[in-house]
Symmetry: D3
Subunit: 242 residues, 6 copies
C-alpha cells in the first residue's frame, strides 16, 4: 500500500472529514447539517401529532423518512421528481433504508402516538449520501426527542439507540473505507453497513457492480473496515450530542 494513494490522497482505511452542525434549523424540532468531505446533507426531524392509519389507537409512534437530492447537488443537473411525476427509484430505495435504520434507533412504543418525519436533503453529493443521511438523521432525531421531553410530551428522551452508517467498497481490487464519488463510480463492490454503537447490525447492503463481484473473505474484510470507520463516527456523534 505504499506505492499508491486514493484519488483524494486518503489511506484505504481513512474516513473523510465529517462534521455535524447540530440544531441548524430555525424551525425543525431537530436538525443537523452534515458535512462529509464534499458531501453535504441537511437532516431535519419534524414531530407530527398523528400516526399512519395502521397505528391509530395503538399508543405507539412511527418514524418516516424522505430523501431527496437538490437538482444541482450532482455533476449534471438532475430533474426534480415532480417534473416527471415519479419518485426517483434510487431515492425511494434510500429513503426506505433511512426509515428502517432510524426506526431501529428509537423505541416507538415509548414515543406515543406521534410521527417523527426525517427529511434528508442532499445539498451537494460526492458519494456516501446515504451514510451521511443516516448519521445526521440520528443527531436530528435525538434533538427532536429532547424537544419532546422538554415539552413534557414524553417522560424521557433516553429512548434511543445510537446508530451510524458508513460505506466500504472494492475499487481496482483494493478494499476501501468511505468511497467518494470518483471511487464509487468504478467500484467492483459497494457495501453500506449500519450498526448500533453496541456492535449489532441494523442493516447491511452489499452489491457487486460494474461486472465485479466479491467473495466471503472480502466481505469479511470489508466488514472489518466498516466497523473501524463506525467507531470514529460514533465518537463524532457523541461529541456533538454531549
Amino acid at each position: 500500500m505504499t506505492n499508491w494513494t486514493r484519488v483524494d490522497g486518503r489511506f484505504a482505511d481513512e474516513l473523510r472529514r465529517v462534521s455535524f452542525d447540530r440544531s441548524c434549523s430555525l424551525y425543525a424540532e431537530g436538525s443537523a447539517y452534515v458535512t462529509w468531505g464534499n458531501t453535504q446533507v441537511l437532516c431535519t426531524a419534524s414531530v407530527e401529532d398523528k400516526v399512519p392509519p395502521f397505528l391509530r389507537g395503538s399508543g405507539q409512534g412511527w418514524l418516516s423518512a424522505e430523501y431527496s437530492m437538490l437538482p444541482r447537488s450532482t455533476h449534471s443537473r438532475k430533474p426534480r421528481d415532480i417534473s416527471k411525476l415519479k419518485l426517483d427509484g434510487r431515492g425511494s430505495e434510500i429513503q426506505r433504508l433511512i426509515g428502517r435504520c432510524l426506526r431501529a434507533a428509537v423505541d416507538l412504543e415509548r414515543l406515543g402516538e406521534r410521527t417523527i418525519w426525517i427529511d434528508c436533503d442532499v445539498i451537494q453529493a460526492d458519494g456516501g449520501t446515504r451514510s451521511a443521511s443516516i448519521c445526521g438523521a440520528f443527531i436530528a432525531l435525538v434533538d427532536a426527542l429532547g424537544w419532546l421531553a422538554a415539552q413534557k410530551l414524553i417522560e424521557t428522551d433516553r429512548i434511543y439507540t445510537q446508530v451510524a452508517a458508513v460505506s466500504v467498497g472494492k475499487v481496482n481490487g483494493r478494499l476501501l473505507l468511505d468511497l467518494c464519488f470518483e471511487e464509487d463510480r468504478i467500484a467492483q463492490a459497494d457495501c453500506n453497513v449500519v450498526m448500533t454503537s453496541a456492535g449489532q447490525f441494523v442493516e447491511i447492503q452489499g452489491t457487486a457492480e460494474s461486472g465485479g463481484s466479491f467473495d466471503r473473505q472480502e466481505l469479511d474484510d470489508l466488514l472489518n473496515l466498516a466497523e473501524e470507520g463506525l467507531q470514529t463516527l460514533f465518537a463524532r456523534q457523541s461529541e456533538v450530542l454531549a
Copy 2:
C-alpha cells in the same frame, strides 16, 4: 415613527442584512447562497446544451426557473410536491415570476441555442423568498455567463442587465420595506417590485390581503420605498460581482 418599532426592531425603510455567497456550489456553472435575515435560498444556474422545441433552429437561447421549498424550511412541515403528485400552486406562480425576471436580465439571442436552468431552493423561509431568489439567481446567472465565456461558448459575458427584487407592504396601516414572515402574515397589502439597475420596471405585483386594500397614493409611496431598497440591493450585488 418614533414610538414604535417593527417586530425585529428595524425602521420602516430598513432592509434586513443580505449577503450572497457566490460560487458556493462545487458543480453548478453559477451559484449563490443568499442569506437575507433568517431567509436562506440556494440559487444555482445550470447550462444545458439544448432549447425547448419552440426554439430549435432559432439560434436563440432560453432560461427556465424552478422554485421549491425544503419540507422544513417553514414553521410546520410542508409535504413535498411529489408526495401529492402536484406542483404547489404558489411555487408554480413564483417560479414563473423568477423565470420572467431572469429572462428579462439576459440577452437570449446572444446566448446561443442553450438553456440556463435557474434553481432556487429555499433552505429556510422567513418572508421575502421570491425577492431573495431573484437577487441570488441574478448572481448565479452572471457566474454561468462567465463560465460560458471562459469556455469560449459565447463571445462575451456582458450580455446581461442587472435586476433585483424587493418586497414592500402595508402592515397595520404602515408602509414597510422588506417584510419578514411575521409582518407578511398580517399585511393588508403586499407588493413585489422587480427593477433593472437602470430604473426600469421588470415586474410589479401588488396584492391586497387579509381583507385589506390600497389606493393610488399608497402604491406610489410603496414604489418609492421599493426603489430605495433596490438601490442597496444593486450595490450589494455589484460588490459581490466585482
Copy 3:
C-alpha cells in the same frame, strides 16, 4: 395619435364590446357568460356545504377558483391538462389571481361555513381572458349570494364589494387599454389591474415582455387608462345586476 389605428380599429383608450349573459346556466347557483370582443368565458359559481380543513369549525367560508381553456379556444389546439397530468402553469397562476380577487369581493366571515367554487372556462380566447374571468365571476358570485339569501342560508346577500379587472399595456411604444391577442403578443409591457368600485386596488400585476420594460411615468399613465376602463366595466356590471 391621429395617423394610426389599433389592429381592430379601436382608439387607444377604447374597450371592446363587453356583455354578460347572467344566469346562463341551468344548474349553477350563479353564472355569467362573458362576451368581450371575440373572447368568451363561461363563469359559474357553485355552492358547496363544506370548507377546506384549515377553516373547519371557524364559522367562516371560503372561495376557490379554477380557470381552464377549452382545447380549441386558441389559434392552435392546446392539449388538455389531464393528457399531461399537469395543471398548466399559466392557468394555475391565473386561477390563483381570480381566487384572490373574488375572495376580496366577498365577506367570507358572513358567508358561513361553505365554499363558493368559481369556474372560469374559456370558450374562445382573444386576449383579456383573466379580466373577462374576474368581471364575469363577480356577476356569478352575486347570483350565488342571491341564491343563498333566497334559500335563507345567509341573512342578506349584501356581503360583497364590487370588483372588476382590465388589462392595459404598451405596444409599439403606445399605451393601450384592453389588449386583444394580436396586441398582447407583441406588447413591451402588460398590466392587469383589479379594483373595487370604491377605487381601491385589489391586485396589480405589471410585466415587461418581449425584451421591453416600463418606467414610473408609464406605469402612472397605464393606471390612469385602467381606471377609465374600469369605470365602464363597473357600469356594465351594475346594469346587468340591476
Copy 4:
C-alpha cells in the same frame, strides 16, 4: 299510451329539439355547437400535421376524440379530471366511442398523414351527451374536411360517410326515444345506436341498468325507435351541411 306523458311532455317516439350552430368557432378548422333540448355540446375538429407513431410512413391519417364535461354542466359540480389526476372512467369510455364512430365516418387512407382531433366539451348536460357529441362531431368533421380541400391538402372533401347517434331506452316498462336526464336516471335499459345514413350499424351499446334487463323483442323494438329518430337527425345534419 294515451293516459301518460313523458316528464317533458314528449311522445314516446319524439326527439327533443336539435340544432347545430355550424362553424361557431373562430379558430377551429371545423366546429358545431349542438343544442339538443337542454343539452349543449361544443364540438370542434382540429387538423394536426402528424400521425401517431404506429402510422408514421403509412400515408394514412388518424382521428382521435376527447370528451369532457365542464365542472358545472351537471346538477352538482363535478371536479375536473386534473384535480384528481385521473381521466374520468365514463368520459374515457365515451371518448373511445366517439373516436371509433368518427373514424368509421371518414376514409382515413385518403386523409393523408394527418390527425383530426375531435373535441366534444359538454357545456350543459341533460342526457344524451354522447349522441349529441357524435352528431355534432360529424358536422365539425365535414367542416374540417372542407377546410383541407380548400387548402388543397386533400383532393376532395367527399371522403366521408354520414353518421349519427341517438339513445333509446326502457323507462317504467315503456320504450322511449331520446332519454333526457330524468328518464335516463331511472331507466331499466339504455341503448345508444350509431348508424350510417345508408342504414348500417356503426355501433350499438345496450345496457341493463338499475336492476332491470331487456329481451330480444324489446331490443328489436328499441332499434326500430332508434332508426326512426336517426332519420330525423340525418335530415337535420343534411340541412346544416347544405
Copy 5:
C-alpha cells in the same frame, strides 16, 4: 361452409375449450382461473367491509371491478399502466363493463354494506378476454357469496343471477362465434353479448371495425349465434358450481 375452416379449425358456431379452476387462490374469498383456448384470466373476488361514500348508511352493498393485462400476456410487451401514470383506455372501458355486468348478477341490497372487488388479470391473451373475465368473475362472485354465507355475514348466498358473456363477429363476411385474436384482428364487426341464464340481456356491445359495418339482419344472426354459445357457457358454469 364446407370448403373452409377457421384459423384454428373450428366450425363457425364452435366455442373454444373453456374451463374454470374454481377456488384457485389461497387467499381470495372467491376465485376462478379461466382457461379459454389460449386465453387465460385469473379472476378473484375480495370482500371489503365498507362501501363507497355515496352508499354509506344505505344498508346496500357495492361491487367494483378491475381488469388488467400482464405486460407479456400479449404478442409484444405492453408497458404497465403505472409506467405511464395512466389507466389504459381499453382496460378502463372493459373494467366498467365487467363491473356493470356483475352488479347486474348480484342483489346489492341483500349484500349488506360491503364491497366485492372483482379483479380480472389477464395472464395470456388470445381474444375474448372480456368474455372470459365476466364468465370467471361470476364463478368467483358465487364463491365469495358462499364465503359470506358461511361466515353468517349474509343470510343466504342465493342472491345472484347467473350471467355469462361471449363474443361473436363478422370475419371475411362470415358470422363466427367466439373470435380468437387472429380473427378479432381482421373482423368487420365484433359484438360482445352478456346475458342472464333466464335469457335476458345484461349488455350488448356491437362495433363495426376495420372499415366494416353490419346491418339489422346480421345483428339478428349474430345474436342467435351468441345465444347458442351462451347455453354452453351456462352449462359449464353450472357444472363447476355444482
Copy 6:
C-alpha cells in the same frame, strides 16, 4: 433443535419445494412459472430492439426489471399502483434489486444494442417472492438468450453467469433457511443472499426487523445457511435448463 418444528414442519435448513415451469408463456421470448411452496411468480423475459438513451450508439445492451404483485396475491387485497398513481415503494426496491442481479448475470456488451425486459408478477405470495423472482428470471433470461441465438441475433447464448437467490433469517432467536410469510412476519433479522454458481456474491441485503438485530457471528451463520440453500437452487435451475 430436536424439540421444535417450523410452522410448516420444515427443518431449519430446509428449502420449500421449488419448481420452474420453463417456457410457460405463448408469447414471451423467455419465461418461467416459479412455484416455491405456496409462492407463485410468473417471470418473463422480453426482447426489445432498443436501449435507453444513455447507451445509444454504445453497441452495448441493457436489462431492466419490473416486479409487481397481483391485487389478491396477498392476505388482504392490495390496491393496484395505478389506483394510487404511485409505484409501490417496496416493489420499486425489489425491482431495482432484480435488475441489478440479472444484469450481473448477463454479459451486456455481447448482448448487442437491445434491452431484455424482465417482468416478475407475483400470482401468490407466501414469503420469498424476491428470491423466487430472481431464480425464475434467470431461467427466463437464459430462454431469451437461446431465442436470440436461434434468431442469429447473437453469436452464442453462452453469455451468462448462473445466479440464484435465497432468504435466510432469525426467527425467535433461531437461524432459518427460506422464510415463509408467517416466519418473515416475526423475524428479528431477514437476509437475502444472491450469488453466482461460482460462489461469488452478487448482492447481500440483511436487515434487522421488529426491534431485533444481529451480530457478526449470526451473519456468518446465516451466510452458511444461505450457501447451502443456494447449492440446491443451482441444481434445480440446471436440471430445468438441461
